[in-house]
């Protein structure tokens, strides 16, 4: 897995811990994901949590369907992915309207804020639009000190009001991926 920055022995950011605490407080039990470097700290915490089931996916749309099934079976979940994966989900997002289950996804953004890799830009640019066209509310966090409030609000409206919601975690927050030879 690639580090997002080259800063040596930099202290791990605290916002992934804040997200983990919110997910625990909302009794989130199933955590499907396609890995992203920006989610690596949170994924590690989920893998070590006795109350949570981490479910690695082969493609992100699997996670949407998994969460619909989890709800039918009485559990809440959250889907972790990066912006490129949002396009893979489009038809499956129909389930959020048809079954009306509490859908929450946390999306690490690529293709913005100093991106090195042009292949990330098209999907990163349309991520918010794709969600909105699919009936998903979009919130964004760009600074470490706003992550807790934004994710707290998103979890609240997803789980309490059954309002499907995506949180975009900006590349500015995570740091642009550094490619070195």
């Amino acid at each position: 897995m690639h580090a997002r920055t080259e800063a040596p022995s930099e202290t791990a950011p605290s916002w992934p811990e804040e997200i983990f605490a919110i997910l625990q407080r909302f009794d989130v039990r199933q955590v499907p994901y396609v890995p992203d470097a920006g989610h690596s700290q949170l994924i590690e915490r989920v893998l070590g949590a006795a109350t949570m089931r981490a479910v690695p996916l082969t493609t992100e749309e699997e996670g949407v369907a998994l969460l619909a099934g989890a709800w039918a079976g009485g559990q809440r979940g959250v889907l972790l992915m990066q912006s490129s994966g949002v396009g893979n989900c489009i038809n499956m997002l129909s389930l959020t309207q048809i079954i009306r289950f509490p859908f929450l996804t946390l999306v690490t953004m690529r293709g913005e804020w100093g991106e090195f890799n042009p292949w990330q830009v098209p999907m990163g640019s349309s991520t918010q639009g794709v969600f909105e066209l699919s009936g998903i509310k979009v919130l964004r966090a760009s600074h470490p000190d706003e992550v807790r409030d934004v994710v707290e609000a998103a979890a609240g409206q997803a789980y309490n009001a059954c309002t499907p919601t995506a949180v975009l975690l900006s590349q500015r927050l995570i740091g642009a991926k550094v490619f070195t030879k």
Partner: protein, 196 residues
């Protein structure tokens, strides 16, 4: 491939569900959903009329949430091919209570009968086995169907996977509810969960 001795899909599903007990049943988009409806509506049935490729993952979500209940996904070859990666995901999670049955007529029956990949090359039992699902069977007789129905009830020994080659007969549609929110709420109620 020999077309002799192909099974009748309604008889297969009827036999699988005859003694379903507490099982939750997920029906994939297409004729599989009609077959499940033909076997009798049930408050633990989830009928899909879309979300193609998602049936196995929906079943996995239910199975992980309710590990003591049998969860059975019944779907077609076209729907399974679209969600083939989900077999890899199931193989990794190894839910003991999840069973997957593919009714394989080797065609896209809802769209004009075009050949699917299983008609020529793809062996779904082999795929499931390669994905880490140790109990992956090809069922060819009604006795084998009955044996699989018993295995479905053993929530400690899964995941179970079966492919059943069925005939091409275009049977009368038996229409289930198309209201996903209704059917899921009905399942949740049967399990003791209320609305938000």
């Amino acid at each position: 491939m020999s077309k002799a001795n192909l099974l009748d899909r309604r008889s297969v599903v009827g036999s699988l569900l005859a003694d379903r007990r507490d099982a939750i049943v997920v029906g994939g988009l297409g004729a599989s959903t009609y077959d499940i409806a033909a076997a009798g509506d049930h408050d633990r049935n989830l009928y899909l009329w879309g979300a193609m490729g998602g049936a196995v993952m929906i079943g996995l979500g239910v199975a992980l949430a309710q590990p003591k209940l049998p969860v059975v996904v019944i779907t077609g070859d076209g729907e399974m091919l679209m969600g083939m990666g989900s077999l890899a995901t199931v193989g990794l999670q190894k839910p003991g209570n999840l069973s997957i049955v593919v009714l394989d007529n080797e065609i896209y029956g809802e769209t004009g009968g075009q050949a699917s990949h299983t008609a020529a090359t793809v062996d779904l039992v082999g795929v499931a086995h390669s994905c880490g699902i140790a109990d992956a069977r090809a069922l060819a007789t009604m006795a084998e169907i009955e044996g699989f129905a018993k295995a479905m009830q053993d929530v400690a020994s899964g995941p179970h996977f079966a492919s059943v080659k069925i005939d091409h007969a275009n049977l009368e549609r038996v229409l289930s509810s198309r209201d996903g929110q209704f059917t899921v709420t009905r399942i949740r109620s049967a399990l003791g969960f209320g609305p938000i």
